[in-house]
């Protein structure tokens, strides 16, 4: 019987209802194609060098850095949920913890993969560990991200080992239990590391006194963007988790986590977003009135180039900051699924826009008085290789969802409840 040939039932949780294997493979197929395309594009960049991209001496950073910064921010949900669950003992968030770990793992491993293509000499990248320049934000980032990726992988292992077949091996079971004892420690380490690299990613541009649009004064050795990035990351992380789980629910047509959990996440996101937006507003004011003029740059001159006008500032702080914050803070709106999702989406969009302005706009703007305002459009290799990363994410998540107990207490209820 064909069905017996094409079945992976013994790998799936008992009682959990999953699509039939052919259906699942059908779902995977397009993503696999995309991933293959991404690998091909990335391969081109590695083989022929970065001339495959449309970056140049003036636009030395492009699409990749922008998206790396974005997904690392969105992936912050992983460490933050861990932090809440293990260190702040918010047990009610446990159901979403596994998803958080997987999403985090995807975001970070994807970002690291892209970074390896983005540097001109990947085979020498390890020099950073051997001859580190401790003053460089990038050193901090490299160290923290690699370590944190390690942490995430370790956090991922127990989830992996809870697979129905792997569980059967006694050693693995023991190992998994040991790891579980480790989890709070890992959560702590993860929090510490994330705190620093999220911040350093902000510092990355904040320290550039040669780029007055990005340069920020700060506290101690850290520019203000250091802290803004941490806040924005932990604000958007939960929102992103809301989006991911809801997406999963939409695709699978099942209720995977209790509404309360998502709403709780929303509330957390909202609070942090509120803080972040107000901090950002203050920071922007300081920059407009003190930092930028002190470097000889009238701030208005950064906004005379379309499409990067002051409107962008308004959109970011009000439409994509204040608005979703309010939506998430008010119970009335938070408990309406539609509003919750919109707010979460707006939050993520706001953070992505912030990353965009810091990376792309900074480079497009002139520094010398006779510099032109620059344009840059990524090459198909850049776009495709990043699309590959997204495909990779979807694939890893789908597999995890199918074969691992991501949502420990998700009712594998047979009746297809329509997503409300």
């Amino acid at each position: 019987m064909a069905s017996t040939v094409l079945t992976d039932g013994r790998w799936i949780e008992r009682g959990a209802e999953r699509a039939s294997l052919p259906q699942f493979l059908l779902w995977l197929a397009p993503w696999v194609v995309l991933l293959a395309g991404g690998i091909y594009a990335g391969g081109l960049c590695l083989y022929y060098g970065l001339n495959q991209t449309h970056m140049d001496n003036r636009f030395a950073f492009g699409l990749w850095i922008f998206l790396d910064l974005s997904i690392i921010a969105l992936g912050a949900g992983a460490f933050f949920t861990g932090f809440l669950v293990y260190l702040l003992k918010r047990a009610e968030l446990r159901p979403i913890l596994n998803t958080a770990v997987v999403v985090g793992f995807i975001c970070y491993s994807g970002a690291v993969a892209i970074l390896m293509i983005d540097v001109g000499q990947p085979l020498r990248a390890w020099f950073t560990f051997w001859y580190p320049n401790t003053h460089s934000m990038l050193t901090e980032i490299t160290f923290c991200i690699t370590c944190y990726l390690l942490v995430l992988s370790i956090e991922y292992v127990p989830i992996l080992l809870r697979n129905r077949q792997l569980r059967k091996l006694p050693e693995f079971l023991v190992f998994e239990n040991q790891l579980h004892k480790l989890m709070p420690v890992l959560a702590g380490v993860g929090t510490f590391l994330s705190f620093f690299h999220q911040g350093s990613l902000g510092g990355l541009y904040g320290v550039l006194r040669g780029r007055p649009f990005a340069f920020r004064q700060g506290f101690f050795i850290w520019p203000s963007t250091f802290f803004l990035f941490i806040m924005s990351a932990i604000a958007s992380g939960p929102s992103f988790l809301i989006l991911v789980t809801s997406a999963a629910e939409a695709v699978t047509g099942k209720r995977l986590v209790a509404r309360e959990v998502l709403q709780r996440m929303g509330l957390i996101s909202g609070v942090l977003l509120g803080l972040y937006v107000s901090a950002k507003a203050i920071d922007t004011l300081i920059w407009l009135n003190f930092t930028s003029p002190s470097l000889g740059f009238a701030p208005w001159q950064f906004y005379i180039y379309r499409p990067f006008g002051t409107s962008l500032l308004f959109i970011e702080i009000v439409l994509l900051g204040l608005l979703p914050a309010l939506l998430l803070l008010y119970r009335g709106t938070r408990e309406r699924r539609g509003f919750l999702l919109t707010a979460a989406a707006l939050t993520c969009a706001g953070v992505v826009l912030d990353r965009f302005r810091l990376t792309v706009q900074t480079l497009a703007l002139p520094t010398l008085s006779f510099d032109p305002f620059l344009q840059y459009t990524p090459s198909w290799q850049e776009v495709l290789s990043f699309a590959g990363v997204i495909a990779y994410g979807v694939i890893v998540y789908s597999l995890s969802y199918r074969y691992l107990p991501l949502f420990a207490d998700a009712k594998g209820d047979r009746s297809h409840v329509p997503v409300d």
């Binding site: 060098g49 140049d56 001496n57 000499q121 003053h135 460089s136 005379i304 010398l368 006779f370």
Partner: protein, 247 residues
């Protein structure tokens, strides 16, 4: 007393001939690639053509040679490099770029407000046989690394070697002149030791006509410019409206 090599470039004397650019490229084994453009090419010394934005009889143009400014204070590229491929040399004040250490992350390029750093987007190549004309004192850079003006360091090497062979401790200043300085037909580029108050260069740097680009950023560049024309002096501050003349 440690040396602080620096330059004063007299914009009133620059005719924009480009001799400095080619002399620099030849001295430092900079390749010339058919695919390279104004935005992907390698021009450690780059003469930019700047106009006052007017047209017709009122139009004025000046040629601005841009090279690494060898910033003395909070050198933007030095602090950002993750693996110490850039350093500000204590003895000479030269900002040194080490292509063999560089991993090509290009962070330093985003950090440099003068756009004086260049990335090797392609592997270097020369027409068949032309590799015989490469300067033996300079290693060819490989694809995927950043390079910039090292103040013709090969010439400093030979000057030092010559001094050592002659049993001297100090080099003869005449033995160390960067290619662009040597090439300039109008002697618009002066080169010398800024730490030495009697050096003609430090005197020129302190003259009223001298200025540095983006001074207020506070990186203390060691490449000065001078001009008698007001609109040219105005270029040092960041005011928009004056743009590079395309072609």
């Amino acid at each position: 007393m440690s040396t602080r090599y620096g330059m004063v470039i007299d914009l009133d004397r620059c005719t924009g001939c480009g001799a400095c650019m080619i002399a620099c490229a030849a001295e430092n084994n900079v390749p010339s690639l058919p695919q390279a453009t104004a935005r992907t090419g390698l021009t450690p010394m780059l003469v930019r053509r700047v106009s006052n934005g007017m047209e017709g009889q009122a139009r004025r143009e000046v040629f601005v040679p841009i090279l690494c400014m060898h910033c003395e204070h909070e050198t933007p590229c030095v602090s950002v490099c993750p693996q110490q491929a850039v350093e500000l040399d204590k003895g000479t004040g030269i900002v040194m770029q080490m292509p063999q250490r560089c991993l090509g992350c290009r962070y330093c390029m985003t950090a440099c407000p003068y756009h004086a750093r260049y990335f090797n987007w392609w592997d270097p190549a020369w027409p068949k046989g032309m590799e015989k004309s490469l300067n033996p004192g300079v290693a060819v850079r490989m694809r995927g690394v950043v390079e910039k003006c090292n103040l013709c360091h090969a010439r400093l090497h030979s000057a030092e070697e010559k001094a050592a062979a002659a049993g001297k401790r100090e080099i003869d200043p005449a033995d160390y002149v960067p290619a662009c300085v040597e090439a300039c037909p109008t002697a618009a580029i002066q080169f010398g030791n800024l730490a030495d108050k009697d050096d003609p260069v430090s005197r020129a740097a302190n003259s009223s006509d001298a200025f540095r680009f983006l001074e207020r950023i506070g990186t203390e560049p060691k490449v000065y410019y001078k001009s008698g024309e007001t609109w040219v002096k105005a270029l040092k501050e960041s005011v928009s409206g004056v743009e590079v003349k395309r072609g």
